[in-house]
């Protein structure tokens, strides 16, 4: 149900919106404008002067093998994070939906990881994966599998994927569980009477009915993996070894903050901004339509 509140005149509504507008202006539109403006400028080596260079920054980064490497890292990283976080969460939600005894305890435990700060989570993962002091790391090295994420780029990528996905599982779990619980019991019972075994019921009834939830979560997870995993990567691998775990968002930071290459960093930010706007638009369109089946 929608409630429409009618205000007399236009002053009051704008006044009430003002704080929000100011915050959005200062913390979003102004820096975004700066980034767009900066992406067309180039500074000299000493940071003393700037000149307008048009799309040269964009052309440069798109021709830069390091940037293309970050693109491919991002694609691998984001799709792996999204699909593993979704898959694991769906599996856990299905189990939680079945559980009768201890269901609340189980759910609470599964929701906890979401409340843990990335830096703390990273320390936990280091305790597990550190080649010398980590539980898994030592175990793997002990049974003859050489494990050192500081030397092996693939292993580093695997570790940041696991750490990033782990954090997102809780969020997905809550949505999947809610989705599962909104499927009427009698529909599943009808399928059972129609002769469908549990696996078939899952793939022909439950899974299609969860499709809207899954799509929504896919977008959320991609946005998360693209933009929200800086902390995890920074704490675990700092984009290394080499540049094997440098994603687009991480590269913005490296180029802008560490290498002080503002023009390149700004151009990258603008590309990422376009990406996040596109993803958000897809999601909004989808939610607006409210099409479920």
């Amino acid at each position: 149900m929608r409630k429409k509140v009618i205000f007399k005149g236009v002053a009051l509504p704008y006044l009430l919106l003002l704080p929000q507008l100011i915050i959005t202006g200062i913390f979003f539109f102004w820096p975004a404008g700066q980034a767009i403006y900066g992406s067309f400028l180039r500074e000299d080596a000493f940071g003393l002067s700037r000149e307008f260079v048009g799309f040269e920054n964009f052309a440069d980064i798109l021709a830069d093998p390091n940037y293309l490497n970050a693109v491919s890292n991002t694609v691998i990283f984001s799709s792996a994070v999204a699909f593993s976080a979704l898959g694991v969460a769906l599996f856990l939600a299905v189990q939680a939906d079945k559980a009768i005894r201890g269901a609340d305890f189980y759910k609470t435990m599964l929701i906890w990881p979401y409340a843990i700060a990335p830096a703390i989570a990273a320390v936990l993962w280091l305790f597990l994966f550190h080649p010398q002091i980590g539980l898994f790391g030592r175990f793997l090295n002990g049974i003859g599998i050489p494990w050192d994420y500081k030397l092996n780029g693939g292993q580093a990528m695997l570790m940041v994927i696991i750490a990033a996905a782990w954090k997102q599982v809780s969020y997905n779990f809550i949505f999947f569980l809610a989705g599962l619980q909104s499927i009427p019991r009698s529909v599943l019972e009808a399928a059972a009477i129609d002769g469908a075994r549990p696996a078939r019921r899952f793939w022909t009834v439950i899974f299609p009915l969860l499709a809207p939830t899954s799509f929504f979560l896919l977008v959320v997870n991609l946005v998360y993996a693209f933009f929200d995993t800086f902390g995890t990567i920074h704490a675990l691998t700092r984009g290394g070894p080499g540049q094997s775990t440098t994603t687009l968002i991480y590269k913005v930071y490296v180029d802008g903050v560490e290498n002080l290459n503002f023009g390149a960093s700004a151009a990258q930010s603008v590309i990422l901004m376009a990406l996040v706007i596109a993803l958000t638009a897809i999601q909004f369109r989808f939610i607006e339509r409210k099409v479920h089946y």
């Binding site: 009698s186 529909v187 009477i193 129609d194 075994r197 078939r200 009915l209």
Partner: protein
């Protein structure tokens, strides 16, 4: 088509037992209606037959085969749910074809069966629609269609009409009856509505607090109710119950409301002075304008139904009585002379069980 046999079905949820040993034998092609107040265990019983619940003890046999431990999928039954339980993401066609696809029927056969059922139920033009694009009555038909195409051994219905409006309910009721007769599929139909039960069932199972109070044909349940619960549940307005005691060496009853009258069908066992309950249906109460042997009914409510009038009032001894009289007799505040003919009595013990006349030598 098949027979169904339930023996000693008990079911507990945790500490509470909701079914206390149900016995039932259903003949091939028979339509059994399980009727009772909400919460008496009807759905639980149906779900046990379907295999959606496991009985705590007892056996379910279909065609003589013990299926108690089998999954719903292995029982070859079809069920129509109260909320229809259609698959929301599938079209009407897919909803009906789902069970057939699982059984691996060839597509030609599936199309044929769905088309036949759709024609029978007049939902042919709806086959491409999704359930959300259908009205309640149409969904109901699709749910029926999904059951019919399966050609199962057993149809189970759990209050399938209770979400429909009154007019549609009467129409669908007749349609279900016709279809069931035509297809000849053994059916178990659950309802809380006694009119539905009377009109649909070959036999009724009147359930009361997890027990089958009576299993009999509709007319027998109406004419010879096994106890005061059944007597009060079946028939509208409900049967009147009057307090009485046994007198005349078991040959008659002294009504609290007044006269002592002999039983029409013979004496009852028991000591004189034993407490009794005399039941009489409102439609059997007579209006006696000439006053001979009449009891005074102080009228306190009059409900005209057109051709008949339902009159609520009190007899002497503060006994409540409802009468259904053919003409617009009586007005509030008036005292109406009424007769309670013993030939229409139902005699029950104080505990509520029917007391049949003592067997006498045939006259």
């Amino acid at each position: 088509m098949a027979t169904l046999s339930l023996s000693g079905i008990r079911k507990s949820f945790g500490q509470t037992e909701v079914l206390h040993g149900i016995e039932l034998d259903v003949a091939d092609g028979e339509m059994i209606v399980v009727v009772g107040a909400s919460g008496c265990g009807k759905s639980t019983l149906l779900r046990i037959v379907a295999g959606l619940e496991t009985p705590t003890s007892g056996t379910v046999r279909i065609d003589g085969r013990d299926v108690t431990k089998l999954e719903p999928a292995d029982r070859d039954i079809a069920m129509v749910f109260q909320n229809y339980a259609l698959y929301p993401h599938m079209s009407v066609f897919e909803n009906m074809a789902y069970g057939l696809r699982i059984r691996g029927l060839p597509m030609v056969e599936i199309r044929k069966r769905v088309a036949e059922a759709a024609e029978m139920l007049e939902i042919g033009p709806l086959l491409e629609r999704k359930p959300r694009q259908l009205s309640g009555g149409q969904r109901q038909r699709v749910a029926m269609g999904r059951a019919i195409v399966r050609e199962p051994k057993l149809f189970l219905f759990d209050e399938p009409l209770s979400n429909l409006d009154a007019k549609l309910r009467v129409q669908m009721r007749a349609e279900i009856r016709r279809l069931q007769k035509r297809l000849g599929v053994t059916s178990l139909f659950v309802t809380h509505d006694q009119v539905e039960a009377m009109t649909l069932g070959d036999r009724l199972v009147v359930m009361h607090k997890g027990r089958a109070a009576q299993v009999a044909s509709p007319m027998e349940v109406w004419g010879v109710p096994a106890d005061t619960y059944v007597a009060g549940f079946i028939g509208s307005p409900a049967m009147n119950f009057l307090s009485a005691t046994l007198v005349q060496g078991g040959g008659g009853a002294q009504l609290k409301a007044g006269p002592a009258l002999p039983f029409a069908d013979g004496p009852r066992p028991g000591e004189d002075g034993t407490k009794l309950v005399i039941g009489i249906r409102p439609e059997h109460v007579q209006h006696l304008p000439d006053g001979a042997g009449a009891l005074p009914l102080a009228v306190d409510l009059v409900e005209p139904l057109g051709s008949e009038t339902v009159i609520h009032g009190r007899l002497p001894g503060e006994e409540v009585l409802v009468a259904r009289l053919p003409l617009a007799a009586g007005a509030i505040g008036e005292v109406l002379p009424v007769g309670l003919p013993p030939a229409s009595w139902h005699v029950f013990s104080a505990e509520g069980a029917r007391l049949p006349a003592r067997a006498t030598a045939p006259a």
